[in-house]
Amino acid sequence: MNVPIRKFDAVIVGAGGAGLRAAIQLSEAGYKTAVLTKVFPTRSHTVAAQGGVAASLGNSEEDHWHWHMYDTVKGSDWLGDQDAIEFMCRKANEVVVELEHYGMPFDRLDNGKIYQRPFGGHMSNFGEKPVRRSCAAADRTGHAMLHAMYQRNVKVNTQFFVEWQALDLIRDAEGDVLGVTAMEMETGEIVMFHAKATIFATGGAGRIYYSSTNAFINTGDGLGMAARAGIPLEDMEFWQFHPTGVAGAGVLITEGVRGEGGILRNSSGERFMERYAPNAKDLASRDVVSRAMVTEINEGRGCGPNKDYVLLDITHLPPETIMKRLPGIHEIALQFAGVDALKEPIPVVPTCHYQMGGIPTNYHGQVVLGADSTPVPGFYAAGECACASVHGANRLGTNSLLDLLVFGKSAGESAVNDLRDSGRHHKPLPQAEIDNSVARVERLNSQKDGADVHETRLAMQRVMQKHAGVFRFNDLLKEGVQKIFAVADDVARTGIKDKSKVFNTARIEALELDNLVEVAKSTMVSAEARKESRGAHVRDDAHDTAETPNGRDDKNWLKHSLWHRDGNRLDYKPVHMKPLSVESIELKKRAY
């Protein structure tokens, strides 16, 4: 098949926070770079991040990157790699200050420095008491950040391909990555983007669940492409359920609400978090708060006619604080819960929010394979699609925006170094791989009696919601594996009625479902296999004992899962317990 080829030094897939940050490195270094994005950059889902970005600037009180590192390792339930976590926490001040220099409109303290607020799991002095570490622009931090980085890219003349859907990762026989195939939505034309360096920054896949804070576009495109090209997916059993999604609508209410003093209450008005986390209370780690909420609801203390949500109360806060620090939340509560948060509490439920796992990388942003983490030549990943792993089994709030800044920059720097030093050139393209990619699109035009895309996606979302939720059960997981593979059979034969070449969104949704289902399979299979509770992955049959604190079995399960699409196979690799410069943070029972 005759597919036009365009050559670039680097191709970046995705123009959210991580992709834009990587693009700044490459454009400033003068490399010919194509940034492919299926939506206009400022429509990427980084835009919806609210509460802030973590950095131990210490603008309001004493803080230290080492404390931040401790909190992140503890938050990860020790599954995070301590070298990568030290790297991220030490880099935080630098990347946040850079962002300020790009023009990011952070809120300010009276002394003119960046405003910081408390956030869940962020403590001073190795877990003592909450610390103000989250750098915020009201409750619109992601929006302000994404726009500031897009603006910086306009300044440095980055070349964007807007509304191009990436299709497949192209690797040659030696396993080197040579770029991607992609489709221009407006015309339906498929082009091979031939690159010496390929960076994935495609975001998460929260749309595998029925109820999610994620945007429609969060369909795990990078993960699907990587999995089909033989790259394993790491730690996919770990999904964060954010405690405060608007009940019914799923829209996010930032943890910053609790950072500013908001309180969770059950049907009797009790501040129940005092029972689950006596020290941190409402500012415990997200997995802990979500489980507490589900327990309250399961034990009959939920609110509303069906007793199926709890209440987030800020009515005791001064209205000025709410309107100054949480104006977007006031707006969201009005729009999606129909309540005036100044006067009434907001109905909330734990809602799928963030994927801790992803494409395995090291802290340089290089994609790595195998137990010894060998880099894949020419391939980098950053942000939610990647697993460095800094979030381990549970991410702390505000560490995602930090992750995308630090590792977006790292991935960009690694690509720049490799382009400059390692003599990378445009290797010959494997035509058969390109043909396979085109054939995947062509199938949608010729499929007879195809499965309906909308119905199949819904079936997948319902299976994930029921079988891999906040609490997990052996029987449900086993059954879930069967069911998700049955859904995958339907995904392989989806059909669309719309055959138009012009901006065919039915085709895009079918292609996105190809990616989603890989993420769903990897999640269910990895979750079924992990016979312990750790962070966001909690099984009812993993018991709290002296050897297994909170059901965490370090003897057998202190390791990263790697799911391989071919053969639906799992293997494991060790957690990096050794940081770069400080002592290892030793295993202990997690309590807040």
């Binding site: 206009f40 400022t42 835009v47 600037l57 220099h101 729009q335 138009s500």
Partner: protein
């Protein structure tokens, strides 16, 4: 559960199939969980996968699903179903003033060209300090009502001056963003920015019709920002 039928007239055009655009009569059963216009559009698309529109965040921050709803620009995801008069068909058209690619999807090239023309980035040529540049809370407050723009184009495509001169008039979104940088105490290019806008078309085609203020889904006020730029020009002239 009580359902109700909602009727639509939707602008349809697929250049691959249709000789010319037409308004399609279509109806859909809605249940009480369908709160927003976007919820219903997603339902319609499940019935007819050829119906084409942009959407992403579904919470009013990404700016994808701007369209013309019963004659007024807005975001489908922030438009309450309950705001429509029952029984009357809801008329959906693409944003006016921009070329239509397909159905409710417009070509936004001209809109972004104008946005890019105002140099939408901080200009500060001092060597960057080691820490953040300082800004007082009062100075930072000047950016409120400006930095929240989501580039949905509701305002610019509601502006008759933009309809007439889309290639020459920056339009309300672009001008709001121009003032966002003029108002930023960290930016050093104020006079260069004012020079660039001192032009019969780029700024002065704004005749304070105020459609922009009327339609902005984020309740921003481009006319006020434009007024402030005009004030600054007058002040520096005397």
């Amino acid at each position: 559960m009580t359902t109700r039928t909602v009727n639509f007239k939707i602008y349809r055009y697929d250049p691959d199939q249709d000789a010319k655009p037409y308004l399609q009569d279509i109806s859909v059963e809605c249940d009480p969980t369908d709160k927003k216009l976007l919820d219903v559009l997603v339902k319609l698309k499940a019935k007819d996968d050829s119906l084409s529109f942009r959407r992403s965040c579904r919470e009013g921050v990404c700016g994808s699903d701007a369209m013309n709803i019963n004659g007024k620009n807005g975001l489908a995801c922030l438009t309450d179903l309950s705001s429509f008069v029952e029984g009357k068909p809801i008329v959906l058209r693409p944003l006016p003033g921009l070329p239509v690619i397909r159905d409710l999807i417009v070509d936004m090239t001209q809109f972004f060209k104008q946005y890019h023309s105002i140099k939408p980035y901080l200009i500060n040529n001092d060597p960057p300090p080691e820490r953040e540049r300082l800004q007082s809370p009062e100075d930072r407050e000047e950016l409120n009502g400006l930095y929240e723009c989501i580039l949905c184009a509701c305002c610019t495509t509601a502006c008759p001056s933009f309809w007439w001169n889309p290639d020459k008039f920056v339009g309300p979104a672009g001008l709001l963003n121009a003032y966002r940088f003029i108002a930023d105490t960290r930016d050093q290019a104020t006079s260069e920015r004012l020079d660039d806008l001192e032009d019969p078309y780029r700024l002065f085609r704004c005749h304070t019709i105020m459609n922009c203020v009327d339609v902005c889904p984020k309740n921003l006020n481009p006319t006020k920002a434009i007024g402030k730029i005009k004030d600054m020009m007058v002040k520096r002239a005397v």
